[in-house]
């Protein structure tokens, strides 16, 4: 059945956009490649213990964004987390640690935000979109398994490079020429990540987040278990620097994962070299670079009146989750106005 709007990507931008449109009475379907929700705002469970794999905490100052986070039901808000930050390396988002920014996280995992945003929405998981095409007064979205979806309007809410790749499946539409050229000027940075689990009493660490200055490999080590109630493991999330990640991006995980643990050992001491278990994750497009920020979402009307919208962390100032949420919400608002 044709929808008013098809949204590709159930990350924070796509879900915020879907929620906004749904509240305005539009029919919306969200197509998501993965099994879970939230995209890069991801939480994995290890023997029931949540571990955040992408962003470690929420930070922002936009009233709407903070209010939306305040509506997440059934979570324990750890206000002010990270309480203890060490090291002089740069945070992923400039401004994340400054005085005017509110910071907090959820004891249940960052992913609770996505689950909340998705409540009441129709999300089709494990739907990998292969291509998109304009049809009479709308769009057709074709999944890799052959499933076809039709809708009047279409929103791409993916990592920047994935949005570009889908736009490239469209026939050359003159209305989109400058938008495609524009997106070609922007880029995401990768982040190779390893989660390492240790016995809960392996070490008493005096920090929640460590930004090592000296390590060529590591941007951040997060003591994720510091967010959890009675953790079964001491969990460290080791996130690599963009350049280090880029060089190893296409190498097998078994090559770079131990290398990252070694780097953590060099920073923390030999005890960190022998975790009980590790879990590597490759963020190919982890986040936009700080030099790549657009002011707002893109909304293009094609010849037959259908709207193509673009949202995601590049489509609002500041990057990260706040930018993703803002871009999706603003796009929904402007699509509502247009209708």
């Amino acid at each position: 059945m044709p929808q008013d709007t098809i949204i590709i990507g159930a990350g924070i931008a796509g879900l915020a956009c879907a929620r906004g449109l749904r509240q305005a009475g539009r029919s919306v379907v969200v197509l998501e490649r993965a099994r879970g929700l939230g995209g890069r705002c991801a939480t994995r469970r290890f023997e029931g213990q949540p571990v955040d794999v992408g962003p470690m905490f929420f930070h922002g100052h936009e009233p709407g964004f903070l209010a939306a986070l305040g509506e997440v039901p059934g979570v324990t808000v750890l206000e002010g987390w990270p309480h203890r930050v060490e090291g002089n390396g740069p945070p992923c988002q400039p401004g994340a640690l400054d005085d005017f920014t509110r910071r907090f996280t959820f004891a249940e995992g960052m992913n609770a935000f996505a689950k909340h945003l998705a409540a009441g929405l129709e999300v089709r998981n494990q739907t990998d979109v292969a291509r998109i095409q304009p049809i009479a007064a709308g769009f057709e979205v074709i999944a890799a398994d052959g499933a076809v979806f039709q809708g009047r309007d279409l929103v791409l809410a993916l990592a920047l490079e994935e949005t570009r790749a889908l736009l490239d499946t469209l026939p050359p539409v003159p209305e989109l020429a400058s938008v495609r050229a524009l997106l070609g000027m922007f880029f995401s940075v990768p982040c190779l990540t390893v989660i390492a689990g240790y016995p809960p009493d392996a070490r008493e660490l005096p920090w929640d987040l460590l930004y090592p200055e000296s390590s060529e490999a590591l941007q951040l080590i997060a003591q994720d278990s510091a967010k959890r109630r009675d953790p079964r493991f001491l969990t460290l999330v080791c996130q690599a620097r963009p350049r280090w990640s880029r060089i190893r991006l296409d190498q097998p995980m078994v090559d770079w994962s131990p290398e990252l643990i070694e780097a953590a050992g060099a920073v923390l001491g030999p005890w960190a070299l022998r975790p009980l278990w590790t879990y590597p994750h490759r963020w190919r497009h982890a986040r936009v670079d700080r030099s790549c920020e657009l002011a707002g979402p893109v909304q293009v009307t094609l010849a037959q009146g259908q709207t193509l919208g673009l949202a995601g962390d590049v489509f609002a100032a500041g990057g990260g989750l706040q930018a993703a949420w803002l871009s999706g919400t603003r796009l929904a608002n402007s699509m509502k106005e247009k209708a």
Partner: protein
């Protein structure tokens, strides 16, 4: 210190703890934070610095004569344009528009130029240059420019309105070729008593406005083939164009 300086300095005192619900969708609020004399090649001015609650952008008012409590104050809104205002770029007409406004107001009894910070965050300037890069490749659309943040008019009007009210100006004569600006300012409670057309004196750099017809889109291309961006949300009018 004459009375105008004393009165402006009182506004600094008054604004120390000023807080209000804010103007516009972003609920922007400004405070007068510093005032000084600014003699310039365009006349005798005072410069008034504003702080705002939203971003790191600096907004200033360039004031000539006694404007506090005055009616029908000639007023020009100018959005910061580093490439035009400072570097003398010919991709836009910002410098002509700014100089003309300052010259005119400097020769009148009183008046104000609101200089609205636009490029305070590094990325704004980088994105403007990205917009130029698109233009260099023959690509230029409203959608792309909007996404680049190339002009946030709504924010400008909210900031400008609050600045005028902070300065205690009773009513203004708005120097603009864009009548919609009057509605925008009126919406925020500014009294606009009339509009003064903002005509630029002809010079070698704007001669093409007199000699070429605007394309249907309203875009002008100069003699070098460079499209002129309308960066001041105010159509360019050169004396003689309307004849």
């Amino acid at each position: 210190m004459n009375t105008m300086d004393a009165k402006l300095n009182e506004l600094v005192e008054r604004d120390r703890e000023h807080e209000c619900p804010g103007f516009g969708p972003d609920r922007v609020c400004v405070r007068i934070v510093a005032v000084a004399k600014l003699p310039s090649r365009f006349g005798d001015f005072r410069v008034v610095a504003f702080w705002n609650n939203r971003d790191q952008k600096d907004h200033i008012a360039i004031v000539h004569g006694d404007v506090i409590g005055a009616e029908d104050v000639p007023t020009r809104l100018h959005s910061e344009c580093l490439t035009g205002d400072v570097l003398g770029s010919l991709r836009c007409d910002c410098r002509d528009q700014l100089e003309t406004a300052l010259q005119r107001i400097g020769a009148l009894e009183r008046g104000v130029v609101l200089y609205l910070g636009q490029e305070g965050r590094g990325i704004d300037l980088a994105n403007k240059i990205r917009a130029y890069a698109l233009q260099d490749r023959g690509l230029d659309t409203v959608e792309a420019n909007l996404a680049l943040g190339f002009r946030d008019d709504e924010r400008d009007y909210a900031v400008a309105s609050h600045m005028l009210l902070s300065l205690g100006i009773g009513s203004i004569q708005l120097m603009t070729n864009n009548p919609d600006k009057i509605n925008q300012l009126t919406k925020y409670g500014v009294k606009v008593s009339s509009r003064l057309p903002h005509l630029l004196p002809p010079n070698p750099h704007n001669q093409f406005y007199l000699e070429t017809k605007a394309r249907r889109s309203g875009h002008y291309i100069d003699f070098s083939g460079t499209p002129h961006l309308q960066e001041q949300s105010d159509p360019v009018l050169v004396e003689g164009m309307l004849d």
